[in-house]
Symmetry: C2
Subunit: 366 residues, 2 copies
């Protein structure tokens, strides 16, 4: 807990006695989500590299690792450093490490972790190699391929081979394979459209793999996919791993497109005011991200969130609604963004606090 918090949760304490608001994760629901995903990985014969950007909490990451994760992906170097500090050293930085400071940090981290980073630029690759030689480490590199998201990555085709050759030629670097991420497809509501577009992207990625192998470069890793496309990407021959993250704790929006995973993440908030037919909660958009929509009230099917302000959420409810001083739980619409809004994650099971985990990487983006 934050050092100043006078009444932090303690293991064994009933959830009903907690101050409000708090971010909760239901470990029984997490267990069920991990079983589904890891069984799927085995069924398709791919590794499941869990994306830490959705967790940002090494306590939860260790819990996920103990359940059988094949490693972790992360979005930021500080997340990779936190994972290594926690003894989770099989880490893919699923983005670029650019500039003298970031390449030096990556090279230093590679001396104590099995670090792989993505690259899409020759100058960046040369800078990374120089940093690795300076640190006396070897940095694994995936060439990122743009398979339709039009963000980072090189176009599928000869550019992939050129960059892979450059990586393989430079002391300090080790070419490991390819990444292609279909982030723009994750939330497509139409499952058939999501599947078709994801398969089309995977075809570009696997075609790039064949080009690189034809150039004589071994490809160990071909990685991509997220919670929204996990089974589609996993089913493609030539893909070796998937990198979903949200499935661990889930949210109300993802649950609409991926009902096989349960909503484990909730914000428990207190009622601070009420009027006929409505009540006001002490958590708003600062604590419950609304970038993917409004939250859903848990275990009160008649209640509906009608307005979210910075510090308040207004809920319409049939009388008698909860009274000031009572608490309700809401499922956020976006888990990754909501976890990032908190410093502490309270792990609960059967209505009691099982663990209290700092969210070390919330509020940091370096």
């Amino acid at each position: 807990m934050h050092p100043r918090d006078p009444i932090g949760p303690t293991p064994g304490e009933p959830v009903a006695g907690l101050d409000t608001p708090h971010l909760l994760v239901d470990l029984d629901a997490v267990d069920a989500n991990l079983r589904v995903m890891f069984a799927g990985g085995r069924r398709y014969g791919v590794d499941v590299r869990v994306h830490f950007k959705s967790l940002k909490c090494t306590g939860l990451a260790r819990y996920v690792a103990a359940a059988g994760a094949d490693g972790f992906a992360c979005a930021k170097l500080n997340e990779a450093e936190a994972l290594a500090d926690a003894g989770l050293t099989d880490v893919l930085l699923a983005n670029q490490a650019v500039g003298p400071l970031k390449t030096r940090r990556a090279a230093r981290l590679a001396a104590r972790a099995n670090l792989i980073v993505c690259a899409d630029d020759p100058d960046n690759v040369r800078e990374l190699a120089g940093a690795a030689r300076g640190a006396g480490s070897t940095v694994g590199v995936l060439v990122e391929v743009d398979i339709g998201m039009n963000r980072c990555g090189v176009p599928a085709g000869p550019a992939v081979v050129e960059l892979a050759r450059l990586v393989a030629s430079l002391p300090g670097l080790r070419f490991r394979g390819l990444q292609g991420y279909d982030g723009h497809l994750q939330m497509l509501p139409d499952a058939a459209e999501r599947r078709a577009k994801s398969l089309a992207g995977c075809e570009q990625l696997v075609a790039a793999r064949r080009l690189v192998e034809a150039a004589g470069l071994p490809v160990e890793i071909v990685t991509g996919g997220g919670t929204g496309t996990w089974d589609v990407v996993a089913s493609v021959p030539g893909v070796t791993e998937i990198q979903p993250g949200s499935f661990v704790v889930m949210d109300a929006a993802y649950h609409q497109v991926r009902p096989e995973f349960a909503c484990a993440l909730s914000v428990r908030a207190g009622v601070v005011s009420r009027r006929p037919g409505a009540y006001v909660l002490d958590a708003g958009t600062k604590a419950i991200s609304r970038d993917f929509g409004t939250p859903a009230v848990k275990a009160r099917p008649g209640d509906r969130v009608v307005r979210t302000n910075e510090e308040h959420t207004i809920v319409e409810a049939a009388e008698p609604g909860p009274r000031p001083g009572e608490a309700v739980e809401v499922w956020p619409a976006h888990c990754c963004a909501t976890v990032n809004l908190h410093r502490t994650l309270v792990a609960v099971r059967g209505g009691r606090v099982e663990a209290v985990w700092p969210i070390e990487c919330s509020g940091r983006y370096d």
Copy 2:
């Protein structure tokens, strides 16, 4: 800085040498904003109680206090506790403290700070009085009046007098006055409409003041307003203070309706990838809140943010745009929500780091 950050900013360091991304505040711009607001408070004869929910950082709050703030408002008890820890003890909790835990915390805090809280419920008032007697403290109370936001507060009218009488009758509490907040008007683009609706709300608030005084209860404080309505509320006879917060650091959205305040808050982000006509920054919606819109690129008038993802911002720019490894600054569209997304605020002046302040209250809502 976060204890694990290997390369945190240090005072005197040039901003150009900082790792990315970082949240920056330009102190020259803050100085200008404070001069405008505090001069306005003196002109209208009202106190300026600066709202800490927009700062969440006691280093910046101390800077604002030294410049002449008449006290602080805050949204959450943990913010009030942080202010008191920093020696800033004139604090209004501009919300309700509800339930046994919150009322006990408020009562404990009142023993070491001049704490005022808002109330809109008789049961809550009795609970707060009991907690104050238990702590041997006196808690100041404002009756919150709903002047049109339809969130918390009692309707302007007899209910205000009843609740004020109850507060005044209970040992442990001290009735201080009334709050009416027009949060729903702050961003109205039409200045004339904003002014007219704000004046209508203030009339309800001042009418409630007259009712309470007619009942024989002295009213010391009548508070309300925000950055969007500050001068309108300050101009109303019977209002004693205003509680703006965003004006200190400002943002791109508020600057549209309040150009007298300068954008002092920026996120300095690094270019991690580029393609013809566009570049990708290493900060996205996790670091730059988009709940009030997309950010604006600072000092690059031709550049336009065209997409924001969780960890990336995509900017269209005329060639030659910035190259990977270079950095640019963006002005967030919403300062309160963006400050809450960071743990560290880098105070800069003239291109150098002047101070590095922890944002103690980001990621906490209790």
